[in-house]
């Protein structure tokens, strides 16, 4: 499939925002809030998540052995295991089982259509099982209500857990009234559910074969585990005498004991329930009697005959998974338990749902890994850009998958598979990256923003006037995809580093800090290197100056050297090689300061997050740990100073009634660094309120891109609604501040600008 143009993508996203966004947001954000509550109420949550992850790591590592184990176990129980290489293989096997079953019951050839009832299974969506069975003359009925609605509507799932999440009650009622023409039109969810229950009960009772997925398969006992709320999977598994369970090979876990943390976690992460209504653990063929509704007068308990009647087939699907196992970044995808938490916690997903943020089958953040692994990179390329790397899903994932990293790596691979464009020369001079030709021009531009900013600063204010001129905006939109409705950042002629040097550099800073220290009793023998990230250095120099003044007022001498880029910008565009080189350079530039015991203080949370998260994959372990342990977010650092005796009265303090609304930053939240900023502002006498909206929607360069401008605004408006009317609004991230300034039409400074001595507040 060819990738869409920017304008096709913009149209598609606009359409989804208008048609499906509202219903998706209502349910997904509700699930996410419930998940957060459920996680918060679970004392040993972190231990559970670590345990679950280590079980998955071990299981995927031992997968070939577990496949042999489960074969032995299921066969010993009296069932059959079939390992299918791909979709066609799996579909053909299932069709054969259905045919054999119907022949045995002598219904083939007498005009009856063999029939199958199914419970919800994303794996069968992945292989398009329903279409394959229909082509083989088999009637398939979905029994999960959401899946059945989609079957009636001839639609596709928009969410891994809630497949019909994009449809509202009234849309479903309209669909059903049209299709089933009831005497009294359906209106309430209750009426729709009753109708579905009765309609589907008939199909389940008449079915020849029941097909289910499996959430987990316990290898050594041959136990399949189904986690559901409706009860349809139980009925599909035990009513017909033939049961086919289809599961990806990655669903295998070694033993029953290994199942426990997953049973404890999966409903919490998916919907915020403590446990799902039905956790069905079947080691088929089971002792339960089969139900023959064609023979209503026969008592159902059948003693041992029940067992001998039953036929069970476990189909384990490879379809690319064994290759994913050998591919380091994609391997983690196999730990996924498909709870949908990464979708629910994602601001972009909440706005467009899985029809926008999804590929052929899977949706949400983890879908990039699944689609790249089972359907190929092209399917992932369709939506991969919707992951902004905000990392909110990282704390949501019950098995601690680094979902943003999978997205970054796959983006890099997609970039490298593009053909070089004739217009590459436009950005070549500005982009000293490590990337090959063919990379999207806009990505290359934003990925090299440090160099761009340096050049623009050197020529400011002319560069700003030029950038604002209509013809230039048109050119930027056409070539780089920068939406012309966005205000561009205005570059400062004097960078933060230049300003710092001009006021006397570190010698002057030391003098200022000693003077301040004399006035207080605190003896804080620390020195700081303030990291001049691209925006703080060239665009929003005020927050950098505020940081310097704040630290000096608390008695801390500061240095602001000219330092390399962190690699954050490159990472957000999937330019891993460039980021890798930048990480090495930055570490090298800071190594001496770290050895000298200086603290690295960072204003922009996304740069700190690069050092604390992604650098683990880019630097040797010791280098990563040294930089991580020696670097701090600015307000976190101020919090530490105040805790250690620094005097807050040196700062601009409020009277306790000064209302301030604070919007933290996605990556800052993932690093658990929202709390220190809150604590510092409160300690300094501000009456603080915080936002609960996941994201501002800007996410670095994302909101500048023409195809994503409207999505970015949709996400941003949800945040703006929360803080509209507040007297003072502060935000930690540059792009959060820019987005809020655009939406609220007023200044949104960094918290450090409020705290700095002589603040305007």
């Amino acid at each position: 499939m060819a990738q869409r143009t920017r304008s096709q993508q913009a149209d598609r996203i606009r359409h989804l925002l208008e048609t499906e966004g509202k219903a998706i947001h209502a349910t997904a954000s509700d699930f996410d809030a419930n998940r957060q509550r459920a996680y918060g109420a679970t004392d040993d949550l972190e231990a559970l998540r670590s345990k679950a992850r280590s079980i998955k790591e071990d299981a995927i590592d031992r997968l070939p052995e577990l496949i042999d184990t489960v074969k032995d176990a299921v066969e010993a129980n009296g069932g059959t295991v079939y390992v299918a290489d791909d979709a066609a293989d799996a579909n053909a096997y299932v069709a054969d089982v259905v045919d054999a079953q119907t022949e045995e019951h002598d219904i083939a050839g007498d005009g009856d259509t063999p029939s199958v009832v199914k419970s919800k299974s994303m794996t069968t969506e992945e292989i398009d099982l329903n279409d394959a069975l229909a082509a083989a003359g088999i009637e398939v009925t979905e029994t999960d209500l959401g899946e059945w609605v989609l079957q009636v509507a001839d639609d596709t799932p928009s969410h891994i857990v809630g497949p019909a999440m994009h449809l509202s009650r009234s849309e479903i009622a309209e669909l059903f009234n049209e299709r089933f023409d009831p005497d009294e039109p359906f209106e309430t969810a209750e009426e729709l559910t009753r109708f579905a229950r009765d309609y589907l009960a008939d199909h389940i009772q008449e079915a020849d074969v029941g097909i289910t997925g499996a959430n987990f398969v316990v290898a050594d006992s041959g136990t399949i585990t189904l986690v559901t709320n409706e009860g349809n999977a139980r009925k599909c598994a035990v009513t017909p005498d033939t049961h086919v369970a289809i599961a990806g090979v990655e669903k295998l876990i070694p033993t029953l004991a290994d199942l426990e943390p997953f049973v404890d976690l999966i409903a919490k992460s998916a919907t915020g329930q403590s446990i799902a209504q039905y956790v069905t653990m079947l080691s088929p063929p089971t002792d339960s009697p089969t139900l023959d509704f064609d023979d209503p007068e026969e008592p159902i308990p059948a003693g041992d005959e029940g067992k001998t009647d039953r036929d069970f087939h476990l189909v384990l699907l490879d379809n690319g998974r064994m290759d994913m196992r050998e591919d380091d970044p994609l391997r983690e995808t196999l730990y996924c338990i498909r709870c949908g938490a990464c979708s629910n916690s994602c601001a972009n997903f909440q706005s467009v749902g899985g029809h926008g943020f999804g590929g052929e089958t899977y949706s949400g953040g983890i879908a990039t890994g699944w689609e790249a692994g089972v359907h190929g990179q092209e399917s992932a390329a369709e939506f991969n850009d919707l992951c902004t790397g905000c990392s909110r899903c990282v704390d949501a994932c019950p098995v601690k998958i680094d979902i943003p990293w999978i997205n970054t790596v796959v983006r890099d691979r997609i970039n490298r598979s593009e053909e070089p464009a004739a217009t590459d020369f436009l950005v070549d001079g500005l982009t000293p990256d490590m990337e090959e030709g063919g990379l999207d021009l806009g990505k290359r531009f934003f990925g090299n923003i440090g160099t761009v900013a340096k050049a623009a600063s050197a020529t400011a204010p002319v560069s700003n006037w030029l950038a604002d001129a209509d013809p230039v905006r048109g050119l930027l939109e056409r070539t780089l995809g920068i939406d012309r409705r966005r205000d561009l950042p205005a570059f400062k002629r004097e960078s933060l580093v230049d300003w710092f040097e001009k006021r006397g550099g570190e010698a002057a800073s030391s003098r200022r800090a000693s003077r301040a220290a004399r006035d207080t009793s605190a003896d804080l023998d620390r020195e700081v290197v303030l990291y001049p990230d691209v925006y703080t250095n060239y665009v929003d120099t005020d927050r950098g100056k505020a940081a310097v003044r704040t630290l000096e007022a608390l008695g801390i001498p500061v240095r602001v050297p000219d330092l390399p880029e962190s690699g954050r910008a490159a990472l957000s565009q999937g330019m891993v090689a460039t980021a890798d080189r930048q990480a090495s350079r930055l570490y090298a530039a800071l190594a001496e300061d770290l050895d000298a015991g200086r603290d690295i203080v960072v204003v922009e949370p996304s740069d700190l997050a690069a050092m604390h998260r992604e650098y683990e994959r880019l630097l040797p372990e010791r280098s990563f740990e040294r930089l991580r342990d020696g670097s701090y977010e600015i307000c976190e650092y101020v919090y530490g100073l105040l805790e250690n005796g620094a005097d807050p009265s040196a700062l601009s303090t409020g009277d306790g009634a000064e209302p301030v609304v604070y919007h933290s930053h996605c990556q800052q939240r993932t690093l658990d660094l929202e709390a220190p900023t809150v604590a510092v502002l409160e300690r300094c006498g501000y009456a603080l309120e915080t936002t609960s909206a996941e994201c501002c929607g800007m996410a670095g360069s994302f909101g500048y891109k023409r195809e994503y401008y409207e999505l970015s605004m949709d996400v941003g408006e949800r945040l703006a609604e929360q803080i509209d009317g507040a007297a003072t609004v502060v935000a930690s991230g540059t792009s959060c501040g820019d987005q809020l300034e655009g939406l609220l039409e007023r200044d949104v400074p960094h918290p450090i600008e409020v705290l700095a001595p002589g603040s305007r507040l």
């Binding site: 589907l200 209504q277 009697p289 209503p296 026969e298």
Partner: protein
């Protein structure tokens, strides 16, 4: 098992809007009779001194199962923490009897109420070792939000009652 565990179980069931009754074995039959809505089907109760009331049909036909409004079954154990009952797949049909009718009445011995999921998995492992290797952890009422609002009683029971038999 302590009285606290049963108290915790009761509170969990309350949160799930599941009925809870704690009765001496001798009174169980009478109480079950009061709770069931007829027609009712059931699987035999393996507890000493406890029998199903006559109004509950055992060894039901599939027609009985389809028509039944209540299904009464024993459960192997219960997990207090989450209000979960462990329905075992047995040849007498406890699994379909607990699933098809609109109301499920689960009967459990007080000594079989365990405090938490870990203890539940210990019981599960013991059962697996002795051949009881198909079990449903059922918690609360069947539910769906797929039609746009939360509705109880979809494919499974919309009403659930748990009867805890006091230790003899």
């Amino acid at each position: 098992m302590t009285v606290d565990t049963v108290g915790r179980f009761e509170r969990a069931l309350e949160g799930l809007e599941v009925g809870f009754e704690r009765v001496p074995a001798a009174d169980a039959s009478e109480r079950i009779e009061m709770i069931v809505e007829e027609p009712a089907v059931g699987a035999p109760l393996p507890f000493e001194g406890v029998t199903l009331p006559a109004s509950v049909t055992t060894e039901p036909t599939s027609a009985d199962l389809e028509a039944a409004r209540t299904g009464v079954t024993p459960v192997g154990f219960a997990i207090a923490e989450y209000g979960t009952v462990a329905v075992e797949s047995t040849a007498d049909g406890a699994e379909p009897i607990s699933l098809y009718p609109e109301r499920h009445v689960a009967v459990v011995a007080e000594s079989d109420v365990v405090p938490n999921l870990s203890a539940g998995f210990d019981r599960l492992a013991n059962g697996f070792a002795s051949g009881q290797d198909s079990v449903v952890f059922a918690t609360g009422r069947s539910a769906t939000a797929d039609m746009g609002d939360l509705v109880h009683g979809v494919h499974g029971p919309g009403d659930v009652d748990v009867i805890v038999l006091e230790d003899r």
